[in-house]
Point group: C2
Chain length 340, copies 2
DNA sequence: GTGAAAGCGCTAACAG
DNA sequence: CTGTTAGCGCTTTCAC
């Protein structure tokens, strides 16, 4: 009984007499032996593991509904295809360091702009990668969503309801860490969408009617709070994430506003919670789970057929979901606002 | 410039002239070279990765608030200590298979009873492991919560409010997969707690006043629905998870019941959502995040000081949080119930 | 059907 | 300070 025999017993039992194979496995069981998976990875030159690269600490992933939904899609696809998943988040503050440790066959990067140093590093190393919610890099597959159209639809909706005084709650830029994997690119695209609708309606957006915060309930609450304290009295709020919209609603309510009677609110993402808050949130739906699943599918295309591989660039649809948080612009409030 | 030099440049730059080290790293960068982490793991005989063994598909982890909270704790501790995290969930339906692939230095097993075959496999292989919400195995550290005391407190609370007709919504046994990582052991312990309080009050629990379902909102809804359809009209519901309690509340409301006026509901876990439903859920708080963090801490004690290691068995406290979903037993309803 | 030997890419004694 | 060498534990041709 040699090493070869043992190896065969585990990997290609058919090349051994059935009897020997069984015997070997029994002995292995008794001894508590298991083939060392690291050594195995080394000789096979593949890890059967996919990496999910995120600029966030792992702990926030689990508390961020957007990320949780995305991971659900990724996990589902990876498991189906027999791959393990490895979440790569900053190690001792450094994503590059974590990336150096990561034993993966390819990487899904979410919320990292294409000029992020780690993205360059991975490209240089020739590791397969797909970019999600980033920019289009010709050599890499990517998945994004039509943020601009979604934002425009949201703005057109409130405009159609007669609102003329709109507050935009944006996600903070990359300077300060955001609570959600959406960065410059996404924020910019959504802003462009809002702006386009306002322009078309001949409404100019005052710069103090754009506030920013982290993409969380708290972030939305404090951003709205800040605007309110500064005397801003919009009849409608366009938030770049549902979490922020929910935070804004909470503060608004604390200020005595009724939603949607006194003020309308629109979110973005359509996380599960959106339908269950009171009032149910009008929002822009994006297929978050599917983004994750598609990203994995694209990544595996690259990982498994290195040769004839052609990058694909997916752009998924968004759509406005009208629920209870939006309504006609209030007459009196409009006047009050006019006086502000 | 030899392999050694390169290795040093990455691992112990101080053993090289500063100049050479820099030069090597530059060349490496240009070439897109990075030390192969798998080979590195092999020679170092450690992976710097911890495994989280779960009987659930990864995709459900992200949609299960209990699990998300637990993972948050695990992730936080692991990141602090410089370890990567690897979630080990059934591969092609087999946990053993996934375990075979897993390149980890140790494992946190959650919701797996001690007699689970994979637990035996890991023990046999001599891999460090800590058990969470399982049974106590003398050779392995473990973390659990005082489920029995928590359940008893919940039951005593409703009893103290005058309730005499109580419905228990339990988590399904291991036969059918549960939506939450709590199995036989946990279910049994909680049941024991409820029972003890009822016994002490001289109330006998009819067997049709225990229903079970998956530990999710839907599971709770359908379990309550089933009981209701069978004519059960309790004045109080004790659910073994907040998600189930919330599901039961939804169905109760659909049946025209007002909570807590017509019926009281108590949950278990105290997930974030519990405080934000309407009415806010009275529940048994357990330190879920901390369970995760403690498990990692214990695991690392074993991983890093193999020798003088002594297993520890932690039992964390639970405590009743009274919120708006419980109130005095309704007089009339009690009579109605009596007639059922 | 089974054993011998080479090598996956790296680290770490050990010389030089 | 730098190069040589021997493994880490496995897989995999290639003979037997």
């Amino acid at each position: 009984m040699s090493k070869t025999a043992v190896s065969f017993a585990f990997n290609s039992p058919e090349r051994l007499s059935a009897e020997t194979a069984v015997r070997i496995r029994e002995v292995a069981d008794t001894l508590g032996y298991r083939p060392n998976p690291v050594a195995r990875m080394l000789t096979q030159r593949q890890t059967m593991t996919l990496g999910v690269l995120t600029p966030q600490a792992l702990a926030v992933i689990f508390s961020n509904p957007f990320f949780a939904l995305f991971s659900e899609g990724v996990a589902h696809a990876a498991e189906d295809l027999g791959y393990e998943l490895h979440f790569i988040s900053p190690l001792h503050g450094s994503l590059a360091l974590a990336m150096g440790r990561a034993t993966v066959d390819g990487v899904v990067a979410i919320g990292l702009s294409a000029d992020h140093p780690e993205v360059g590093q991975i490209r240089g190393a020739g590791l397969p990668m797909v970019l999600v919610d980033s920019d289009d890099l010709p050599e890499h597959s990517s998945v994004m969503v039509d943020d601009e159209a979604g934002a425009r639809a949201a703005a057109e909706h409130v405009l159609g309801l007669g609102h003329r005084d709109v507050l935009i709650i944006a996600v903070e830029g990359p300077e300060s860490p955001t609570g959600q994997p959406q960065r410059q690119g996404v924020t910019e695209r959504r802003l462009r969408g809002y702006q386009a609708a306002l322009d078309a309606a001949g409404i100019s957006l005052r710069s103090d009617h754009i506030v920013a915060g982290r993409a969380s309930i708290e972030g939305g609450a404090s951003a709205f709070q800040r605007a309110w304290a500064a005397g801003t009295r919009p009849t409608a709020v366009l938030a770049m994430s549902d979490a922020m919209a929910i935070g804004a609603m909470r503060v608004a309510r604390e200020q005595g506003l009724r939603i949607p009677d006194d003020m309308s609110v629109v979110g973005f993402d359509d996380i599960d919670l959106a339908a269950h808050v009171d009032p149910p949130l009008t929002t822009v739906h994006q297929p978050i789970r599917q983004k994750g699943a598609d990203a994995v599918r694209l990544l595996l295309a690259e990982v498994e057929q290195r040769e004839a591989y052609r990058p694909e660039h997916l752009r998924l649809e968004t759509r406005l979901i009208v629920r209870g948080s939006t309504g006609p612009a209030p007459r009196e409030r409009q006047e009050v606002t006019g006086a502000t």
